[in-house]
């Protein structure tokens, strides 16, 4: 497994996409976070957003999950789909015919890669929003234990997204299809599903189990919820963690039983 990890690590760092996506994540979070923090601190009193203080700070820092999660998902999926797109899967399986080990190496290497995305994304997010919140708002709350937990879990959940991305890539090895599905799901399907399911008493508890909602549950803040746009009802942290791990395990198992069982070539 050590060899598999080193090989996967070299696969990632020997191409450019990992730092291009990392840069895009940092820039995107800095921009959207900055705009949101700006609108919180400069909103006229009569149009003030329904968040303030610690809640506002945590909500802004939680953006790494709320809007940033598509980046670790995509980079994770690329670890698998690039092998199929460029047919390097043949060489990879020649050198490591144990297909479970190949997939395991990718799932494991996604953890440090995702943590890196989490740390860099969080630094970009906090770096632009904390000064704004501290300067004109009600504070950046960077020493508040609850907010620090949100920040730490925001980094952790990014790593989980990368792992889920790998598992998803194993289910949908076609690179274009995987990216389209990830974008459609994260940007369109899930937000609407959360709003729609959250709108009804009967289904609102189901919405908590959607992957994005579960991740909100893990870090403990939901911007969508706090803005009053839908269900603010989140899973407790332990349950949210279990749900996310279950997504990763289920997708990886399906990928192992389908894509990685097939004949190559």
């Amino acid at each position: 497994m050590r060899n598999a990890l080193l090989a996967e690590y070299r696969k990632v760092v020997s191409t450019r996409l990992w730092w291009i996506l990392l840069g895009a994540l940092a820039a995107y979070l800095a921009f959207v976070g900055g705009v949101l923090a700006f609108s919180i601190v400069f909103a006229p009193d009569d149009q003030a957003l329904p968040v303030s203080g610690e809640q506002a700070a945590a909500g802004v820092y939680g953006l790494i999950n709320a809007i940033g999660y598509v980046f670790p998902l995509v980079i994770g999926s690329l670890l698998v789909t690039a092998e199929f797109r460029y047919q390097t899967i043949t060489e990879s399986l020649l050198v490591e015919p144990r297909r479970g080990v190949l997939l395991g190496g990718k799932l494991l290497v996604a953890v440090p890669l995702g943590l890196l995305y989490g740390v860099v994304g969080m630094v970009a997010l906090v770096g632009t929003t904390a000064p704004l919140l501290a300067w004109r708002g009600e504070g950046a709350y960077l020493t508040d234990p609850d907010v620090l937990v949100v920040i730490s879990l925001g980094v952790l959940v990014t790593a989980l997204w990368a792992v889920i991305g790998v598992a998803f890539g194993a289910v949908v090895p076609n690179q274009v299809a995987a990216i389209v599905v990830l974008l459609a799901f994260t940007q369109f399907v899930e937000p609407i599903a959360r709003l729609a399911l959250g709108a009804f008493e009967l289904t609102s508890s189901v919405a908590r189990f959607l992957p994005g909602a579960a991740a909100d549950g893990l870090i403990g803040v939901s911007l969508i919820g706090e803005m009053g746009g839908g269900s603010g009802d989140l899973l407790p942290r332990w349950a949210a963690l279990l749900v996310l791990v279950a997504y990763a395990v289920a997708l990886a198992a399906v990928g192992r039983a389908t894509t990685l069982r097939r004949d190559i070539g």
């Binding site: 020997s14 460029y86 043949t90 020649l94 004949d263 070539g265």
Partner: protein, 297 residues
């Protein structure tokens, strides 16, 4: 060098109703270059993929030293393979490509450097593979196959895209491997491409075995061809008819298939038929190959 025997036993693969490989059995011995030949679509690549554990046989077994590829602890240390369809990430440099697979095989970086020089890509080692020519990719694929210095080497159409000098080098390399005692299996759709390199041949067509023998035994099966020019054609034609020889016009003369030049000369001498040319064209291996595999020339 303790090189493994590669063997397939009653190997078969069906894709739906199509039987791509059908009851194939042959073995490949160490210390020799074995040509794995057949027209495009004969099932060569599918067979190699089954041998290397990439594709699951629907019938029979493919074995490396008596065990399926995937059942060896580190099969890459036993067999190095360069398959045609194997790809490269265009954004990775040639050297980085080697280093990825070296890590997986437990080979150090110094070996990567050494190999990339050896296959003649030293100057392009840090260039992205996206800018490599077909021949350079072929060389990089070979370097990948040789990472572990394996005792058995499988090469799928290795001369595709190589320039004449590269082809000569590849042939020399294969001979060297065999001389070192390694097992070398090389596929090609042209016999003439490997004719001067291989010791043994395995010929398949439409998924079935056509011939498996030494090249010398195969040559013995070739049909002699004799070219004759006779000024008195009617007399010569009568001679052919008497002997039951089938001739076909070729340029200014006649080409006799399946008849040795000596027999034609002797018969003509006895019947007093004058000959102006009597040329042995020799048995053409490629002709035999095409006939065996059912290809029309």
């Amino acid at each position: 060098m303790d090189a493994p025997v590669l063997a397939v036993e009653d190997l078969g693969k069906s894709f739906g109703a199509v039987r791509a490989v059908d009851g194939l059995s042959f073995s490949v011995r160490p210390g020799a270059v074995t040509g794995f030949l057949g027209p495009n679509g004969a099932g060569k690549t599918t067979t190699l993929r089954m041998l290397l554990g990439l594709t699951r046989p629907t019938q029979g077994r493919a074995l490396i030293a008596g065990r399926p590829y995937g059942e060896h602890p580190v099969p890459a240390r036993l067999v190095g393979a360069a398959l045609e369809a194997s790809g490269f990430h265009p954004g990775r440099t040639g050297l980085a490509h080697l280093e990825v697979y070296a890590a997986q095989a437990g080979v150090d970086r110094a070996r990567c450097r050494e190999l990339i020089e050896m296959v003649g890509l030293g100057g392009a080692a840090t260039r992205r593979v996206g800018g490599y020519s077909m021949g350079m990719r072929q060389r990089l694929g070979l370097a990948t196959a040789l990472l572990t210095d394996p005792p058995a080497i499988v090469l799928d159409e290795p001369t595709n895209g190589l320039d004449p000098e590269g082809i000569r080098w590849m042939r020399w390399l294969m001979r060297t491997f065999a001389a070192e005692g390694r097992t070398v299996l090389v596929s090609s759709h042209l016999l003439s491409e490997v004719q001067h390199t291989v010791d043994d041949v395995v010929i398949i067509a439409r998924g079935r075995l056509v011939a498996a023998s030494s090249l010398a035994d195969l040559s013995a099966q070739t049909v002699p061809l004799t070219y004759v020019e006779a000024p008195d054609r009617p007399a010569f034609d009568r001679l052919c008819a008497d002997r039951g020889w089938a001739g076909r016009p070729d340029g200014g003369g006649v080409l006799l298939e399946g008849v040795a030049a000596a027999d034609v000369g002797a018969a003509a001498y006895r019947s007093g038929v004058e000959l102006h040319q009597l040329v042995s064209r020799g048995g053409d291996l490629e002709d035999l190959f095409l006939r065996m595999t059912g290809e029309q020339r």
